[in-house]
Subunit: 136 residues, 2 copies
């Protein structure tokens, strides 16, 4: 299987050690989108609840974007965000513990189709960063 291929790390393909030292950490992730819920998912995100955004910002998330794409006949969501804090785990826990975010997830979770390669306790599946050209 291709998953046995050893990652190759270099100056623009940060190793886990280099990633940990970055001031701005980029995260890409993916999840399925149920086609019958696409309309509702779009509606929700056309006016994301302000307190949900506030909680993300308090947890040092910035430049957060989500994209819809179709692949081999199925719909997927791709997300990109930047994390600028120094305690990712804790900041994520604070998001997960936020009552308004929990209410938001009650709406968004049923729109999504979880993929087999997600980490335990996560909805979205992590992608692996292989190239980075940051700002000049």
């Amino acid at each position: 299987m291709s998953s046995k291929i050893t990652p190759v790390y270099g100056p623009t393909n940060p190793s886990p050690e280099k990633f940990a030292k970055m001031k701005i950490k980029r995260y890409g992730s993916i999840i399925g989108l149920k086609p019958e819920k696409e309309q509702y998912y779009r509606q929700l995100h056309s006016s994301t609840w302000p307190k949900v955004l506030e909680r993300l910002k308090k947890s040092n998330i910035q430049n957060y974007s989500i994209y819809i794409g179709e692949l081999e006949g199925k719909k997927y969501l791709f997300s990109y965000f930047e994390y600028t804090g120094d305690n990712f785990e804790k900041d994520m826990q604070l998001i997960a513990a936020d009552p308004e975010t929990q209410r938001w997830w009650k709406e968004t979770d049923p729109c999504q189709r979880q993929l087999p390669n997600r980490k335990e306790g996560q909805n979205w599946s992590d992608l692996e960063l292989v190239f980075l050209m940051a700002k000049m």
Copy 2:
């Protein structure tokens, strides 16, 4: 088909008109990755040729990252970048006309598997932005 669902545009789900006026335009895209070429693709991107990066920067591209993911048993590449110029078409043409970039693409193109829903003349397939939370 799900593709008949009408897009919903709102303040955080930019309409084409709003997108056109944004100072920083985010682009997400996707392409297949041939599993037997993953190792070489990673090697190439562990030290991307400096002139290729230079050309991207001259064409007003910033915060460019590429991710590898596996979906339903197949490998894909996801890319995110920001465009800060005011003539996207022209800037892309200048990239495509750059001899060093053309040499680079001779290496990267055979690693990729084009998807049916790409635009004519493009390698990568566009994703559609449905959520955006920019910087505070």
